[in-house]
Symmetry: D2
Subunit: 485 residues, 4 copies
């Protein structure tokens, strides 16, 4: 797998990014650029579907956007002025090409393509019912459930069928849909996953993050609102809100780690929020030290914030292999026992004899923190104070984020003292949940009606979790699934 974040093994991972373009003569090329900018949201596979007025065209590939979608022949084979694309991680072992989105189906109303960021929390239950009535699924993706609900809906128009389908699903979904009539972008009523809208000349663009607009030279117009459907047909744009209004709760982890620092998510600069979390940490958990050192790259903005607030100098104490694009797999068991430092290395000349504050964005299993602390210790650090720019991660996410099962979350197993011991730090502190909300400009978390989904920290899930409760039945169902080699 292609990766460049040295410590990403112990991160939560966003599972998808979506991007759609209407009314551009370079639709597919723009989607390729946009997906490239969203690569951090899904590095396992990518796909683009275009519509040329008569026919839909799709190209899917395992691996990165670069190398697969930057070839002229691929883009030429995706003609038309409308196109949508998707990057993904897989949640399960199923990495087959048929799971790569956009998914496509020929319905009685014509062709239908869909790209989805999020996770439907009652997908398995709906699937069982659909199969009982004769629907045949071609993927193991929860997204396909939406298509079958549209295909078997008793409403007449595509739009009515689509709304009928959405009303039956629970969970998180930012969607870009293509039909022969036009493009529909929508965000679930809670607005859990992000989705923004931009313009480039006559073109209308939808994207998971503003950075994807930036790389195309497009201007950011506004976020798609929770519960909103934006319908683009030729030059006409309509907005409808067919759902009962609920209090929105976007995912707070987008600011902590998922989104790129140069993105603006729901009116907040990600970089600024991260620096502010660092400043909160400095206020909540001060320490006497010589250097502030970020765990690269995601810890850098919070470390700058911490350094500026505390007056302790910011320094690069860990160097990552900037020039190395591919993960190196250690060959042979013989060298496994060596203290191999493949993706990062301590800047020993700097660290030796110093008291250091180490800043990271989060701790998931704790395995990486343990290694980094040890690396700093080996390089001669006198004291190591770990500061984490998010509260303890204690609960799994069921809204489109790859989380380990709860039993593997360090903060679900140990208290602060236990965690400090586990990672062998001299001290450890997390920003408080209220500190996190402060960095977003609020006084504190509103416990009754909080403004963000923070279930991974608090366990306060904003939807029912139907499939989780049915999970035994789910496994039996999966028993007969085909494995395509």
């Amino acid at each position: 797998m292609l990766t460049t974040n040295p410590f990403e093994d112990d991160k939560l991972r966003e599972e998808c990014g979506v991007f759609g373009v209407s009314n551009s003569p370079s639709a597919a090329a723009l989607v390729a650029l946009g997906l490239h900018a969203l690569q951090h949201r899904g590095q396992e596979a990518a796909g683009i579907t275009s519509f040329d007025g008569a026919q839909f065209h799709t190209h899917r590939a395992m691996g990165h956007v670069a190398g697969n979608f930057d070839r002229d022949d691929v883009i030429r084979a995706l003609p038309g002025t409308v196109a949508a694309g998707h990057v993904r991680y897989s949640t399960t072992g199923e990495t087959a090409l048929r799971n790569v989105q956009p998914l496509y189906a020929e319905l009685a109303t014509g062709g239908f393509a869909i790209a989805h960021n999020g996770n439907i929390s009652n997908a398995m239950k709906l699937r069982r019912e659909l199969v009982r009535r004769g629907s045949i699924f071609q993927s193991t993706s929860d997204t396909e459930t939406i298509i079958h609900l549209v295909a078997t809906s008793n409403y007449r128009t595509l739009l009515d069928r689509f709304i009928d389908a959405l009303k039956q699903i629970e969970g998180a979904y930012s969607l870009v849909v293509m039909t022969p009539e036009g493009m529909i972008a929508c965000r679930d009523p809670l607005g859990i996953r992000p989705l923004v809208m931009g313009r480039l000349d006559d073109a209308v663009i939808f994207a998971s993050e503003t950075v994807a607009l930036d790389v195309c030279g497009a201007t950011f117009e506004r976020a798609v609102e929770p519960g909103e459907l934006v319908i683009v047909q030729g030059s006409e744009i309509r907005s409808i809100k067919p759902f009962q209004q609920v209090h929105a709760r976007p995912c707070i982890f987008e600011w902590v780690y998922f989104s790129r620092p140069d993105s603006i998510v729901d009116d907040h600069s990600v970089y600024s929020v991260r620096k502010e979390i660092g400043a909160q940490l400095a206020a909540e958990a001060p320490v006497e030290a010589d250097l502030v050192i970020p765990v690269p790259d995601s810890g850098v903005p919070a470390a700058i914030g911490y350094a500026q607030a505390s007056g302790i100098p910011f320094e690069l104490g860990i160097i990552r292999s900037h020039y190395v694009g591919r993960t190196f797999i250690q060959p042979g068991d013989k060298v496994r026992h060596l203290g191999v430092k493949l993706k990062h290395n301590a800047n020993r000349a700097l660290i030796e004899g110093k008291r250091i504050v180490l800043i990271d964005d989060s701790i998931v299993r704790g395995t990486t923190s343990l290694k980094i602390v040890q690396m700093m210790r080996d390089a001669g650090a006198a004291e190591i104070h770990m500061r984490i720019a998010s509260p303890p991660t204690r609960h799994s996410c069921f809204y489109g984020v790859d989380t380990p099962e709860r039993a593997k979350l360090l903060a679900a197993k140990l208290d602060l003292g236990g965690m400090t011991d586990f990672i062998h730090a001299d001290s450890l502190a997390f920003v408080s949940i209220d500190g996190l909300y402060k960095a977003l400009g609020e006084a504190k978390r509103a416990d009754v009606r909080p403004n963000y989904c923070d279930a991974c920290f608090t366990g306060d899930y904003p939807t029912t979790l139907t499939d989780q409760d049915d999970s035994v039945e789910v496994d039996q169902f999966a028993l007969l699934a085909e494995r395509v080699n």
Copy 2:
């Protein structure tokens, strides 16, 4: 494309071969062997599905069986004692992997895999109805229609649903089906396409031709009968005939060209029938000549028959590149004008100054015959008498054979004189339709109830051709299909 028959460009092509094994510890490996022996029935793609008692496993690949299914890792990834496979040509430009069989679906009754040789002549009509009711097709294959009919059937058991589905389809089908309960092999009521049954120790085997049994070391037991379903569940074998009995009409072209000469099709040795057609030709169309020369390789048995019956010596006057497995694509336009002889070459030393009888199995467009006659002429032949071991091919096939549209069939456009002129031969003769039936042991063709499907020669189609009559509507339907690049 991998091919080895030098003159195959102008042949009718069988579109599929099927092979299934129950009760063998080496099920998938046997299927790979069997498909390899059936490679001539479909060289574009191949697939194998196995069932390990809990899960179905599938591997599909474009290209030949060898190179794709002779790797240990592939076979190991297809565990279980039951397996079925398929080789195919495509009828349309759609060469996507998702069209490669066995097709698989998870139904309410469990997993369902199907491999199909033949063509359903009302598939498009059924598909439109199914899509209107909410079914979503994942391939452009007519075979998928069967699966959706099973999935949406109102019957309860899988067997009843399957029979319900078969009763709605028209056309030609030899099928091998896998379900968690066992394997079902069946042949359409007319028995258009062949299907045989064999044994190897405890294993039960189904195959399109006996040669596939031979390569496995299996013994031939019997042909599956027209309209028969053979159901294998563990060691139990049942036979049922759920259809109204009709007069069977197997495809006569299997003896003319499709099947391998070492196969036995419905009790007739293919090699012997071909030699006998050659003998009939010698009787019906004698000529004074020095040499009998086969167009390799398919003309060889008939040429031996002609030579033995006429007393004119059999000689290899055309040498094909035996050692060349891959088609060579002529590089560069510059050499296109040369009289390039890539796959075959005249044995000039033999031919010069001789009167030759040239034997081929059939003429489709006539383009290849024209080239061969010219090649013989260039090599110095004094007279060239072309003799064809089948009647003139005047009609398209809609039962699973790749035929050009009627307007391109030489015999549909020209009479015998016109054809002789077209290919520049000194004389041309085809075996008569009665001569062909004689080679199969009959006195003559029974015009009321003929014993074979000979529609390509006579236009006497044994079924209705629903989709052909609806073809305008069909094209409109196809308009929105997705192209996967």
Copy 3:
């Protein structure tokens, strides 16, 4: 490995084919066509070098000509009006690309490319001396020795240096050489390996066999004579014979097996010679039988000759998989014990109960003959009489043919009775050495000065075998060779 001859495992194998073109605007494309026609002489790797008047261009590839040299981009990257190519088997395990010919070097006289069919029997000895004087070898090929002899020669002109080099080498060599001044084709003084010259418009062509001229549409002009150098510079062609004249002895096995049946080698049609050997066999070793069956494909011409001479009908009793271009590797040990018939199959309906004469071109180890006899026996043959269209192969070849070591040659270990028992035939006969010479139009073999190299049958080697005598030392030398993975 790509192969199509079902029984080739037990054949002697020609190790190379060469092809060169001067004065053609399509030089490289013609070489590609020519090499494709010579593919049977070397299926492991191929290479083409062109010269555009300023620079040499080379493309080498493992595998067949088709698939590697039939791509427009490859041919376009080989510009110029002069080009030469090579197909090869490897004699050792060294299959590295750097051994693939044409070999190229920049000499003080300019670029120098060479393609070689044959084997230099004192190459190792010369190599040791050259290394001692400071030459650095880049391949393990004997051909490179020639280049270093040219590079270090004390003569001044390239032609003088080249002749100086040739005078130092022993063994078999048909060479095509390219220099900035022109092309040189030459054949060793004994003419062991074949080489012919042809014309196509203004172009001069050299090829190992006439069949390569045929595929290009070129006309055959004459064989290059033993000991002759033909020098082509622009439109000028010169012939020189710098060696002391010796009695020529071309390899007789070219007619037995190596050359294609449609080639003319040194004025004899290969097909006619093979048929005549079959007729000799019928005269020398008659038998009462029902059918004459060739071992396909190389046994076919001799079988036709035997059948015509004996009056016993020629029939296809063994069917090979015509449509199968790639060798199928049996997957998994589990099916190895089955009587698997992958590349060929008995035509059981024909053979059952019959007395058969089985015709093959040669027996090397005998392993294949054993299997074929067994296959005929299993198919119900009443009697099996094996007839071989060459004398017993009792000696290794050191002139560019891949022979097993002597101890593995069946005829070196057993007498006729022993061999008959070993292959389980009812009778076995080889054509006599005199019979073989008769088929070539001679009264008998002239024991003092035979007209062909027949060392594999007689042990009468026409050159000294320097490296064979030095073989212990050779192995030590090889010890430090680099293995490139």
Copy 4:
């Protein structure tokens, strides 16, 4: 090409890295690790040679170490306790595998493998002489010249021949050589390119940079000295200095850009030197501003130094695509006109309305600086002050660094005012040459006998440049070179 530095198109590029291991049971695996850590010194190709006591084994590959040398099968095919490796850029278009090092030859003294960092400035002249005497070159690499000088030396022992060869060459070379007797590491008399020695248990390791020791867990022992040969034979280590002693002048650009910040080069921490250059810049070229922004990633240490010295806050104003390992090639001309920001993006929320100091390590052609300034301007920067952490690059390098021809160097064409205008900055300043020497702990540059090679800044080349003066003749010689496609 795989790259991750967003602005690397306008950098000087180190052309090679070398790494060697003696006396380790995991020799090849350690070399793979070491080369991975040196990947920034050469990303085009890599190779490893091992010696198992009897035979040399080599694997070469185009592309990165990861993906090519982290596979168990590759490492297993490189057995032995001694191994050496190489990473490279190409200086010319010649990217053929045969140029990938280590180069290998079989000499009269046995096998000889060599890996070279640097460039021999009289290689072409020596090559011409060698070819005239009969040597045949297999690569276009200057390194091969050394091998032929060894092969044709009149001395007897390998060591004497090697020293004889080195005495004939001019230029820069850090070499790791393998022979059956042991390993030799050496550095040219001026010590232009770096080379260090380390230990890991019983193993002796040589590497271009200390970071390669770090990743293996090895300890740094000392730098190999200019003009020194270190010879490792089993457990014995010898050091000899066969050259006349000269004043050493290591390349100063190693601290400016080439070496990784976590390496120690000749006793100076690269990170500390870069920070110190930043501090010098702040002193030499102060400016009133709101933010200090590094051009990522190479500008970061100098920016931290500048920020700390000036008191202006350090901020990430340019975000690179951390998660993107592969260069994205813009598909289609249609989107080329867009202001596409593929590898980096302005952090607009931070920059808008601010006065910024932009820190980069060097300016070569100036094209990238122009784009970055424009990007900052587009993001709303009020003032842009560019500060460069090296003196103006005015001269080409001929010692193993890829520099554009002089006419393309911005500082060779324009004065400071011209350059400021060209990049559209509000101000521009370079650190002075004395400032650079100060950052390395010296009072100033000693003009008579400077302690570093700074020819790219000063034009003061420490060796003769034989081939540069002969360049017309060189080109003619190259005319006949073979191109391998």
